[in-house]
Assembly symmetry: C2
């Protein structure tokens, strides 16, 4: 039996990654005010969070800059406007989404406020992801890799992918439950599989969970108890569709005294509640349960939400076809 609860001790190697701007940005097209981002940065510092993901560095050749807030693109200069020289323990991350990025948009680390480049890819995109990881590593960044939608990936393909990733300089390999379809007992087995390769190649593991079945936090602490060190969370669980593991839940759970939940409450009451009042919608709802149960991408559920539909049973029938 794992000893993850009621322990008064803690694991120094755990890293908490705030993904509010990045996964949350998918909800409001990255239109966060500078005040929001500055206060989130301060809250993360006060809360003892280890990494703050500022958003995607999407290619402007792929996305129209006028249709998104700036955290879709995360220019170094925009990051610097928020964090200055960032003379703090909080490290800065951005995400490169394979197929929608351009590695030429990444300067040498020495010129950039970014510490960690997180590379997200579907399994079939791994060769391109590895190219990106190697490039970022050479430029001096820490790197991590999210293999997305693993619940739709054959185990043999996943093993081949982990073998490939193991041989790269990537620092952290992320388990990603993109569709929120994985139960904690299954998560334990997924972690086992990843651990094989992590141990073999000396990599760290991370977990990024979605809340379609109200299991994002449960899966995160399950993985944590199984030895996964890098834990993604977002304030009030803000993230695409059903959202993510909530920062307030995660910091309430973790025992390292460097983590403080109070600044998280402060930030939520000042900024997240306002977002919700302005009509930004995320979080558990039946349409997301349905895509989670059916192990599907939430895109149709997001449309259902946008259309303010409540005819869950009709939607369910449509999804079964």
């Amino acid at each position: 039996m794992k000893q993850i609860d009621k322990l008064l001790s803690f694991r120094e190697s755990i890293k908490v990654v705030d993904a509010t701007l990045r996964d949350g940005g998918l909800v409001n097209d990255f239109y966060f005010s500078d005040e929001f981002v500055k206060n989130l940065y301060k809250a993360n510092i006060d809360a003892g969070v280890d990494y703050m993901e500022m958003g995607y560095r999407a290619s402007k050749k792929v996305f129209d800059e006028s249709k998104f807030g700036k955290w879709k693109f995360c220019a170094d200069e925009h990051i610097r406007e928020i964090i200055g020289e960032n003379d703090t323990d909080l490290k800065i991350a951005i995400m490169a989404d394979i197929g929608r990025h351009d590695k030429n948009d990444f300067d040498e680390k020495v010129n950039s406020p970014v510490d960690l480049v997180r590379v997200a890819a579907y399994i079939h995109q791994l060769p391109e992801a590895i190219d990106m990881i190697e490039d970022a590593h050479k430029k001096g960044y820490e790197t991590s890799c999210n293999i997305m939608a693993i619940s739709n990936t054959q185990e043999n393909d996943l093993k081949a992918g982990l073998e490939m990733l193991g041989q790269t300089p990537v620092d952290v390999i992320y388990i990603v439950d993109s569709f929120g379809s994985i139960y904690p007992e299954e998560m334990a087995r997924v972690v086992d599989l990843y651990q094989e390769f992590a141990v073999k190649y000396g990599k760290k593991l991370g977990i990024h969970a979605h809340n379609n079945q109200q299991l994002a936090f449960a899966n995160t602490i399950e993985a944590c108890g199984d030895g996964v060190d890098w834990l993604d969370a977002t304030y009030l669980g803000m993230g695409r569709g059903a959202g993510n593991c909530s920062m307030e839940l995660l910091l309430g759970f973790l025992k390292n005294p460097k983590y403080n939940i109070y600044p998280v409450f402060k930030f939520i009451e000042k900024h997240m509640v306002k977002l919700q009042e302005e009509g930004v919608v995320w979080g558990y709802d039946l349409q997301y349960l349905i895509t989670g149960l059916l192990n599907q991408h939430p895109r149709t559920a997001i449309q259902f939400t946008k259309d303010k539909r409540k005819d869950y049973s009709e939607y369910y029938k449509d999804m079964l076809i």
Copy 2:
């Protein structure tokens, strides 16, 4: 490792108990319309739910009848108005809350539409609970016992209580996470402890979870995977404070083909959404996380909700004193 996910097989001994009227009634003072209750009854039948809890049978000597809906009192005649002769596989349950019940309000089973009497008690009330259990058993009812607030109960007291209960005719002993403070790994250990006595005395085990830390479903399937057979859930998680394990999540998880999630979606879109639109509030929010984390009764968090407060950080500070 438990084999509870991705299994195409199932355990016949599992029983799903719908507690919407009872735990949900704590949110709206049991003012459910007859149409709501009748449709819930039908939905439960169609969904393959095993037991439907109609509410409390509270003593009218303790509670003023004019201040609550009728499901606070669950008179046999009111139940009959909904279910008639109940010529279905769905069994009917009511709850007796020790100290607020009167065993004289329970007729002989042969005269009553009720199948199961669920007795809820704090550990110090167990002698009175046992008196009630024996009385109900003698009258011909199935019986279960909820020992409440076990996260605030010393393990030795709990063991003594389970030993006492084991020697009664009670059919099912419930694990109750009243404050939503238990993590799944801890739940596994609680189940172990209860199993000792369940095996020794030939009792079934049940689980009733609260969602303060978004763990009600996770704890329910954890307990299920550990051998607990009686699983409480409510439609859309409706229940006191942060609410309960959601029926839609639970039926999505269970593999027995007798369970159907579709009628649950139908009922939710027709009735539960309306309740929410009318201003009935339950479900995860930071004030409930706070009482869960601090292992406290949610009563101050419920007041915080009623007052429509959002100053979570002030509330947290007050709770730490």
